[in-house]
Structure formats: structure tokens, C-alpha cells
């Protein structure tokens, strides 16, 4: 009747030691919470899944008109401007949705956090997964667009999964950091929408990184989304050179945030139930 594997020691500062094992043990909860979030998301809205098609589509149309027609910015190679915008919009939208959803996820699940134990990491993680479903739907839309524009992707598209993983890591790391901060300091509720809005302007969503002057490139690339969007465009459109500089900076910044995010989250996680 004894279960060796369930020998638990509770001590101040102790829960770290069996953290990753616990996380694994709670994988089913992770699965079911993600499933719940997805289900609710498409159940509560009238147009449901169509929403994740309409949103990027309209943004893409507006951006194409403003940046290509009005501002007359160049596209990358021969790709239609719309496809270039959409290739950048994909990771950006994933990132921004993750950020907004995850940062509110803990507060939205207060009743769970104060009543049941489980590794809290599961909650923001399942928000990121939910955003990824949106991403997948939008990706389908990109494929449709490519057929419509008669635009064949480059062979480099086989590297796309790699960039998706980086986008995932970046979204997850920054989300975790902000989520934990949001529990303690509730004014992040106002800061996060600002970050998302501001980020849209400093990331190459509506324009190509090529239009950024060389001397600003380094500062510009500190934004991890720059390298990721460049990477997406490189693998989907494939008509510019490999974005070695921006991508490597992005990977460094992403790892930093991932490290910081997980660290800070775990440090504060134990007091969530008291603070929330």
C-alpha cells in the first residue's frame, strides 16, 4: 500500500527538488487544462475558430495597404507584400497572444490555485499552447494565400519547425516572467497591453528588416521577435540571406528570458496562493 514514489517532504524552500518530476506527473492535468482553454475559447465566442482567421487576415490587409501602398516600402525579393506581412504576422501574433493570455491566466484561475496543488507552471504553459492552436489555424491560412498568389515556398521551409521552436521558447519565457510579476504587481495588467502594442511597431511585422538602417541593426535586434520573424521569412520566402546576426541575438535574448522567466516563476510560485 505504500508508494515509494509518493514520499513527499514539505519544507520551506523545499519544493524545488521534486519540481520537474512533479511536472511530469501532472502531464495529464496539463493536457486537460489546455484542452479546456481551447474548448472554452472556441465555445464562448459566436464566430469561434473563425476569429483566429479574421484577426490576422484583417491585420495583414491593413498592413499591406499602409506599408506597401501608402509608405511604398519594398518587399523581400519577389514575394507579394501580403505574404511577406503574413509570414511576419504569424510568429508575432503567436507571441502577443501568448503574452496577453498567459499573463492573465493565473489570476483567471485563482480558484484552482487557492484550492489544489499542482505545478503552477502548467497554467501559463497551457495558455501558450492555446495560442499555438491559433497559430496553427493562421498557418493554414498562409498556405491558402500561397496557393492564391501562386507563390511556391522555398526549400528552406524545412527549417521552419526550428524557428517555431525558438518562437515558442521566446513566448514562453517572456510570458512566464510577466505572469509571475502580474500576480505580485497588478499594474502589469496595464503594462502588458502596452508592451504588445509597442512591440508591434519595433518588430518587422509590417515591413522587412532590410529597410532598417545598418547602424541601428544591433539595437533593433535586441527585440527577440526580430530574429524570429526574420527567420520565418527566410524559411518561407527564402529570398534574402540567412539572418545570422539578428537570429543569434534573438536566441541569446530568448535563452536569457527563458532562464529568467522559469527562475523567477519558480521562486515566486510558492507564494502565489498567499498573494493572489
Amino acid at each position: 500500500m505504500t508508494h515509494k514514489e509518493f514520499d513527499i517532504l514539505i519544507e520551506p524552500g523545499r519544493s524545488e527538488k521534486n519540481y520537474w518530476r512533479d511536472l511530469w506527473r501532472y502531464k495529464e492535468l496539463f493536457y486537460i487544462l489546455s484542452w479546456r482553454d481551447i474548448k472554452i475559447r472556441y465555445k464562448q465566442t459566436v464566430i469561434g475558430a473563425a476569429w483566429s482567421v479574421i484577426r490576422p487576415l484583417l491585420t495583414m490587409i491593413v498592413f499591406t495597404i499602409i506599408f506597401s501602398r501608402v509608405a511604398k516600402l519594398p518587399t523581400e525579393g519577389t514575394a507579394p507584400y501580403a505574404i511577406m506581412v503574413f509570414a511576419g504576422l504569424l510568429p508575432w501574433q503567436f507571441f502577443s497572444t501568448s503574452l496577453s493570455e498567459a499573463s492573465n491566466s493565473l489570476i483567471g484561475n485563482t480558484n484552482l490555485i487557492t484550492k489544489v496543488y499542482f505545478p503552477r507552471l502548467i497554467i501559463p504553459a497551457s495558455s501558450v499552447i492555446t495560442s499555438f492552436v491559433d497559430f496553427a489555424i493562421s498557418f493554414g491560412l498562409l498556405l491558402v494565400m500561397m496557393v492564391g498568389y501562386q507563390f511556391a515556398p522555398s526549400l528552406q521551409i524545412i527549417f521552419l519547425p526550428l524557428f517555431i521552436i525558438i518562437a515558442f521558447a521566446s513566448s514562453f519565457g517572456i510570458s512566464l516572467f510577466l505572469t509571475a510579476l502580474n500576480v505580485k504587481y497588478r499594474d502589469f495588467k496595464y503594462i502588458i497591453p502596452f508592451i504588445v502594442q509597442f512591440g508591434l511597431y519595433i518588430s518587422p511585422v509590417g515591413f522587412s528588416s532590410n529597410v532598417v538602417p545598418e547602424k541601428w541593426k544591433l539595437l533593433y535586434a535586441v527585440n527577440p521577435m526580430v530574429g524570429i520573424i526574420d527567420g520565418f521569412r527566410w524559411s518561407i520566402i527564402g529570398e534574402t540571406s540567412f539572418p545570422a546576426l539578428t537570429l543569434s541575438i534573438s536566441i541569446i535574448v530568448t535563452s536569457l528570458f527563458l532562464f529568467l522567466g522559469v527562475g523567477y516563476f519558480r521562486k515566486t510560485e510558492k507564494s502565489f496562493a498567499d498573494n493572489i
Binding site: L9, I10, E11, P12, S15, K39, K115, Y117, L181, V183
Partner: protein, 415 residues
């Protein structure tokens, strides 16, 4: 295996109460920055107070024990359960647990109103720590126990509150952990369903040799279910031992708070003693079929106009329920110097079962409030059997009535 399944050593939990925080428990970054700036000039202006919810608890629980945790409101029972179920972390000390813990601190944790009954069973089950395969195996049992077969594919937001609670409890009742931690959630549903739940609980704990920790204010229930007890008082472990011993101690402790004697001295008036009594006397329990007498003894030193002597009756969470003063209805104005005994009576069949506090109220209206504003007395209203207890549910908001009067005048067959 015998031996302890839970070992608690020197367990303490501290909360820091900050008196400056205006809007509740959380801080805003803005405030932190402002305080840091202030700190440059002077020491921080916020007064922080440590509050020990639990202090230096040490006890063991053996495999198969059914432990009742008793104590008054604020004794630290819920905090203890929260630490045991790893929701919050202790400040000091350690707990060793040898087994899977499932905690039931609330009925229907994580239920989502938009999801159907079927979906919520899986959701709630996983939240409580069941595997999907386990839930699938027990699915039919859960559904038939809850009696919601027809509504499985209806979103639970369309459920009646009774159905909701039945489904929620039913999921929880089919958990199979080695250690089950339960906080006052059994009193749900109508009387018939309650009985069913209790039967199930008894099966689970007695029949299957599971270790159960159980918090309740329902002494009868604890007596019935548990073999061991833990008595807490203001965060301190008073005693751990046989349930009968613990309950005797708890009752005698409890009745002490039915009576207060001392001297609270104010300029014009002295409060000398207070008590809650029934006709049976002051030491026993208070039942809902007895008149409850609230006695106040005061000594008045100099005549004071418009003096107010009375009490506030407080319910759960020290929420004010009623207020009574000696001169509410009779136009008394001044009392001559001397000693007085004031007797108030709460008629039988007025209060629902539960814990109440009394806060004595002595004041010169619009001039001075002389009492301390802290509850002085506590008492618990019990019911004998099911009388005045039907459909009374402590934890369900829709049944949360405080007054349970016997208002029926007559019933006769007229056709």
C-alpha cells in the same frame, strides 16, 4: 504497513499583514516604487505585522487514521490543510507525507460553467489528481451516484445548484488517494444526498483503510467518522489524541468562551461579566430548540444619559447579523449608579446551526464607543437530529440562511 504516514515537525506559518495596503492583499509596482523613494528620506511608513497562523505544530498521523481537526474559527485548521495539500508553503518546520494526497477544500474546484457535465467530470477529476483512465473506469459510477444521467451533455451552467453540487461531490467521492484531506465540504445537497455522502465517506475511510483528515464544525459528524483528533487554538496545537478525548477538551474549551468574567473598566461604567446560557446552564451545548440567554453584568459609576448597553451578534466571518440594546424599545434614558444584570433572550428556533460570536456594545451614542470591538464570546448552535436542519447547507450560497425560525402556525387538511 503501520507507522506514520504523515509526520509534522515544528510546523509554522507566518503571514505578513501590511497595514498600509489600501486595496487588499496585492501590491502595485507603483506603490513599491513610491515606497522606495520615500525610503530615501525616512524609514518606510507602512506598518507590517506578523501573524502566525500556525505555530510550532508537531504530530504524527498513522496509516488508516481518520483524523478530525477541530478548533474555532481562525484556529489555523484551513491553513494546516492548505500546507498539507501543498497549496502554500510553511514558513518553518517540515512535513513528511508517504502517499498520494488528494485535497477537497471546496466542492467542484475548477468546474467550468460552459462545459458539459461529462467534460467537467474529466476536468475536475484530473484537477483532483485522477488519471484519465481512472476517471473513465469510474465514469458510470460517478454519474449514477450524482443522479445526473439525463443532463450529462448539458453545460453545467444550466444545472440547478443541487445537481451541480451532487456532481461535484460525486467526482470527489470517487477519488482513491492514500490520504484524503477534506475541509467542511460534506454538508452539501439536500438531506437525502447528505446521508448518501456520509455513507460513502464512511465506506472510504473505514472500509478501505484510507487515511483521512477532516475539518468540520459538525461535531456529531466528526465523532461518527473519526478515530483520532487534533485540537488547534489560535495556531497552536492544544492536543492530538483519541477523538473522544479531543472532543471533550474542545467542548470544555468552547464552553469557556460561553462565559467571560473580569473587569473591563471605563470611566463611567464597568463590564464585569458576560455569558451565554441556556436553561440547562452555562457549561453545556447550545441547541436550536432552546432559548439562548445573553447575560451582561455591569456596574455604573455615575449616571450617564443615553448610555447604550447591548451586543452585536456576529455570524461566520464575524459578519454582523443582529444588534440588541437594552433601551431599543422601552425609552429608558438614564440608569442610576449601581450594579445591573441585563438578560437578553434569543428565542428558540431562531438561529441556524453554526458558530456565532458576540461582541458587546457599550457606548454613549455620538460621543464615545467604550467597548473593544473584539468578539468576547463564542457559541455554537447545534441541532438535535434533523430538527431545523432540513435543507440547511453551510457551504452552498443558495442555502445560506442564518435564521431558521419555526414559523409554522398551523397545517390542516381543508379539502
Amino acid at each position: 504497513m503501520s507507522g506514520s504516514i504523515i509526520e509534522v515537525k515544528n510546523l509554522s506559518k507566518k503571514f505578513v499583514i501590511s497595514h498600509e495596503a489600501e486595496n487588499g492583499k496585492y501590491t502595485a509596482l507603483r506603490d513599491v516604487m513610491v515606497n522606495k523613494m520615500k525610503g530615501l528620506y525616512k524609514t518606510s511608513s507602512s506598518i507590517k505585522e506578523d501573524f502566525w497562523a500556525l505555530k510550532d505544530l508537531t504530530f504524527n498521523i498513522n496509516q488508516g487514521d481518520r483524523v478530525g481537526v477541530v478548533g474555532r474559527n481562525g484556529a489555523g485548521k484551513s491553513t494546516l490543510l492548505k500546507i498539507l495539500s501543498r497549496i502554500t508553503e510553511p514558513t518553518a518546520g517540515s512535513i513528511r507525507i508517504r502517499g498520494r494526497v488528494a485535497s477537497l477544500l471546496e466542492v467542484g474546484t475548477g468546474f467550468h460553467p460552459e462545459l458539459t457535465g461529462r467534460e467537467n467530470i474529466f476536468l475536475n477529476g484530473s484537477i483532483l489528481g485522477m488519471k484519465r483512465s481512472e476517471i473513465r473506469k469510474k465514469f458510470d459510477e460517478i454519474v449514477s451516484f450524482a443522479e445526473v444521467e439525463k443532463f450529462l451533455d448539458t453545460p453545467v451552467k444550466r444545472y440547478s445548484s443541487g445537481m451541480y453540487v451532487r456532481l461535484a461531490f460525486s467526482v470527489a467521492a470517487h477519488l482513491e488517494p492514500e490520504i484524503l484531506v477534506i475541509d467542511e465540504v460534506l454538508a452539501v445537497g439536500d438531506a437525502q444526498f447528505q446521508k448518501k455522502c456520509l455513507g460513502k465517506m464512511e465506506d472510504v475511510s473505514k472500509g478501505e483503510g484510507r487515511t483521512v483528515l477532516f475539518v468540520s464544525h459538525n461535531i456529531g459528524l466528526i465523532q461518527n467518522l473519526c478515530n483520532r483528533g487534533i485540537l488547534l487554538e489560535r495556531g497552536v496545537l492544544v492536543k492530538a489524541g483519541e477523538i473522544s478525548e479531543i472532543l471533550t477538551l474542545y467542548n470544555s474549551n468552547n464552553s469557556r468562551s460561553l462565559h467571560w468574567e473580569g473587569l473591563e473598566e471605563y470611566e463611567n461604567i464597568q463590564l464585569t461579566s458576560t455569558s451565554v446560557e441556556t436553561l440547562e446552564g452555562t457549561s453545556g451545548d447550545v441547541y436550536n430548540d432552546e432559548d439562548i440567554f445573553i447575560n451582561i453584568r455591569v456596574k455604573i459609576n455615575q449616571p450617564t444619559r443615553e448610555l447604550l448597553i447591548g451586543f452585536n451578534l456576529l455570524g461566520l466571518g464575524e459578519k454582523e447579523l443582529a444588534r440588541a440594546n437594552y433601551n431599543d424599545f422601552n425609552g429608558y434614558n438614564t440608569l442610576d449608579p449601581g450594579s445591573y444584570l441585563l438578560i437578553f433572550c434569543i428565542p428558540k428556533h431562531t438561529l441556524a446551526t453554526g458558530t456565532y460570536a458576540i461582541n458587546f456594545d457599550i457606548a454613549i451614542p455620538y460621543v464615545k464607543k467604550i467597548n473593544s470591538n473584539k468578539p468576547n464570546l463564542y457559541f455554537e448552535v447545534l441541532s438535535r437530529g434533523e430538527k431545523g436542519n432540513k435543507y440547511f447547507v453551510t457551504n452552498s450560497s443558495s442555502y445560506n440562511s442564518i435564521i431558521r425560525p419555526d414559523w409554522l402556525k398551523s397545517i390542516e387538511k381543508i379539502g
